[in-house]
Symmetry: C2
Subunit: 238 residues, 2 copies
DNA sequence: ATCGCACGGGTACGACGTACGGCGCGATAC
DNA sequence: GTATCGCGCCGTACGTCGTACCCGTGCGAT
């Protein structure tokens, strides 16, 4: 650093006790969440997170071994926002419904969460708590004694939620990209789609798209959710 | 380029008719698939794909506007590998089962496909054909006249498949990362998990993990699949 | 007061997606 | 036949990324 190239007088003071900004995983993750919420996952870089905390990039490596690890922490933070409290007096079905709905709310609040959902095994404490809540909703229920049955039900439900949320977020983004137009998506989303559908190569698809009532995203989510829960119930009674 | 800074004799010839390597979307996508299959999605960069075809990076931009567009083409190429032919004499249930199973096979063959599943709206011709096949399996079935019901069933099934495949691929990778050990995953996957489970904070989770039979991934996939199909059937008869 | 060591984090590297603009080629005008 | 023009292809270069490396700093032992 500027060995002798200037005289003392015009050489800056040593970097003011560097950056006395206190760091912690919590502060780091909070800053990362803020960036991701504001501008998407792509806006989360170690450099930007660090800058947000008045630090150089490498300081973060004391708290996090790799960028992926930061993402893991972010995921678990969101799981932490999803309450796992069971509504009082709720049967297994209502309990599962509540968990799924809350997960959906979290994913819509942090759209980047959907990008990460199911991408790597989530083993953070909050994710485990979420898994615990899901499993205990069915495992305790009468007639659900089998551990395998419980795992199967919880796994299937979870898979549905992951897939449904990813699709919903993807559609929401596509919609937003074609201008903020309200529900003109299925006919405005690129004249391309209209053209593709009118080629006659996808007859069922175009009939269905044309005839369907296009319910709200929330209605679609709950309809599919109930469908899966019906499947769980079918196994349950058998 | 080297305006006059050397004499002719030591100035290289003009770049030999550049690279006469013939390009096409097909060749580009094929090269990208090969890279992704070999080393994962992260290994797919425009530079590497181009290099594979003896071209400079920018040549690809004649065929593809952006890297995301290349990814879209890759996705559609995989959808193209998934046969949409309906098994002869199959009812709606068998038809959906066949589609889901084939999708799974494709995702296990191209693990990176799972990374992209559900991430953006898939509107390529092969993806549309896949959607057509899914919808027509239920829309034609007796008692499935309602377009909304068909869309609901197809959507729920698709969401399940996306979530289940992402989880399966993620687990497979985690397993591979802890050494190639066969099925020691649930007890070796980090002593961390064992420790976490023995804290007593996840009682159901640890009971279930301990008691469950841990079936093969394929069995898990089909079990969940049948559960969802049961749900579809429940709606169907109603 | 001096020395030695450990380690925190700044500097720098290689790779990325792609904006930009200059070079070379084909078409047009004489 | 030659000179000029314009366009479009793609090489060069920029800004950014994750993180390896290693130097300088500050502390504990002497």
């Amino acid at each position: 650093m500027a060995r002798e190239e200037t005289v003392v007088w015009e050489r800056p003071e040593p970097p003011r006790r560097a950056a006395p900004s206190e760091l912690s995983r919590e502060r780091i993750v909070a800053a990362a969440l803020a960036l991701a919420d504001a501008d998407g996952l792509a806006a989360v870089s170690l450099r930007k997170v660090a800058a947000e905390l008045d630090a150089g990039p490498m300081r973060l490596y004391r708290y996090v071994a790799t960028k992926d690890e930061l993402l893991d922490l972010m995921i678990d933070a969101v799981y932490g926002e999803i309450s796992t409290r069971r509504p009082p007096g709720a049967d297994w079905r209502a309990a599962l419904r509540a968990l799924a709905t809350r997960t959906r709310r979290a994913a819509l609040h942090h759209e980047w969460f959907a990008d990460l959902l199911g991408g790597r095994t989530h083993l953070g404490p909050n994710a485990l708590a979420h898994g615990e809540a899901t499993l205990s909703a069915v495992y305790g229920a009468p007639g659900f004694g089998d551990a395998d049955a419980a795992q199967e039900a919880a796994g299937a439900l979870n898979a549905y939620v992951v897939g449904a949320l990813r699709r919903e977020v993807a559609e929401r983004r596509a919609e937003r990209a074609t201008g903020l137009d309200k529900h003109a998506w299925q006919r405005a989303a690129g004249p391309y789609l209209t053209r593709a559908l009118s080629t006659g190569r996808y007859p069922t698809l175009s009939t269905v798209v044309h005839d369907a009532a296009h319910p709200s995203p929330e209605a679609i989510f709950t309809a599919g959710l109930d469908l899966v829960l019906d499947g769980v119930a079918a196994r349950h009674s058998a």
